[in-house]
Amino acid sequence: MNYHILKKSGLDGFIRALARKMKVCAPVAKGYGNYAFEEVSSAKDIALSYIPTILPPKKYFMPQRERLLEFDISGEKPAELAVVDAPEMAIFGVHTCDLAGIQCLNMVFSEKPADRNYLRRNEKALIMGLECNGYCDGHASCALVGAHYPNGGYDLFFTDLGDRFIIHVNTQKGEDVAEGLKLPRATPADMAALDKVREEKRRVFQNEIGVDPALLPAIFDRGMEHKVWSELGGRCVSCGNCTNVCPTCYCFDMADTINLDMKTGHRTRTWDSCQLENFAVVAGGENFRKLRAERQRHRYYRKFKYPLEKFYRFFCTGCGRCTRTCMAKISLKETLKALAVGHGGRI
């Protein structure tokens, strides 16, 4: 695998060169300590040091609103067409937590029957990661789930070495970009500097909740009736923010719309949230998750229990967004700690 070097002074040229070919998106400062992935045209738009964006980059692969089908009902027999809007694009500055999030969604949507809309958008994107040399803030728990180091999921991966980036090339698509821009190869001195960053990270990033992640499955196995859920239910306001901002949440709803011509229409997919009161209601009125406590519990099981058996990993990447966004100050770290109390699983 190749490593290339990009001087920080050359970042602007790099972004501009990419932007001439395709849409380039990157984290942008939005004020009040908030950041968002947005289209950029030069490096000065980009916030290189940022806490996780309001929405994770999943919005580019699974947009908040997207058209799945178009149909025509003007004839005797209706006609339909499955469509996707998948532009060629580059996403720059994706932290390792969000790379892990994209990998989780890749697994979900490529599982048969595959979701071609998601996969098509994903394959058209050039993904460029950016390493966190230190914590973004105290809400992150990336070390708990091992998402503080890169584990693939990118074409190019940037690590800040002070005056320059060292870029790991993970795919031929990434190599073509690096070669096309004639980025020099990394020297042994650069490689040593990268090793030093990683070594330093080992000291900085420590398990954030003091509970061995290997014990979490057992903790959740016994946790269905734990009092922490009713406590969360008492505070949760069912706004659904936690799931909207989660890099691994993908629940959705669909609805048909008829156009004004009354002859054509389309089916739209929108984000949905298991935290909303009517999420598990069936026709006839039965609600299978009526209580806020049940819905919060469901969210945590969807992160720490169920995907473990199916996908061999937690569907939490430790980004901390759910905690940061929660109006009721429900903290993922505190919830896990509370759940582990009495289990004897502390380290």
Binding site: D85, D253, D256
Partner: protein, 278 residues
Amino acid sequence: MSEIINNSSWRLRMGRITAARRMTAAEKWFEIELEDGDLEHEPGQFVQVELFGVGEAPVSVCSSPTRRGRFELTVRAAGRLTTHMQTLKAGDWVGIRGPFGRPFPVKLMIGNDLLLVAGGLGIAPLRSLINYVMDNRREFGKVDILLGCKTPEDMLFGDEVKAWEKRLDVNFSCTVDRGAPDWKGNVGLITSLIPGVTIAPERTFAVVVGPPIMYKFVIAELAAKRVPERQIILSLERHMKCGMGKCGHCQIDHPKNYYCCKDGPTFTYEEVKAASRL
């Protein structure tokens, strides 16, 4: 700048309604023929029915795959789409996705006695199995069918039910919650019928389909009869929106968080007994 995806899982198969009949005040029966061939379903599976512009809803297939070419649905006006469906008639087109879901384990049932229990609209999915069993009657041991509904007027598939009553190779009984004075059959909950059935528990598969409230009581009766938990088969109800184990609406509160649409809707009691609600 959209592109067309021909292999999209969201594509619909066009189905033409070949026959439609009102069954009760709230339920209508449809026979549908797909333009592109057979549905290729198995007993216990469901389809997503699309009414263009209205939306989509999951509906159990109530016909047996042994009767190929067309399939049947029984739809109760319960939500927006199913209420709208009541206006459909022969000749109308609908969009169909599917079949979806894990079917009843018919292969495992071969050589065993069957106790088939349906409450209310549960007869719709169970009928796909009942007719499958009728068409493959030789493969199974003793067959008991228990049916419960609110009143005699609510009974679905009345003609077929009469035929089952007459057959010598199945034992059929039915009960209503309340009957008119001229009702000569049983009155009471479906659980009251189970003690009267002779069961060899080790070689019996009990298949139970009905409203969530029914499961608890029927399972208790089956447990009293010592039917093994993995031979009690349930078909659970949830809102299965996508049918592909993705949209999240049908997940069950269970340590394994089953997607009802993909891991189910049929489950053994052994699999789902840890669920906080059936």
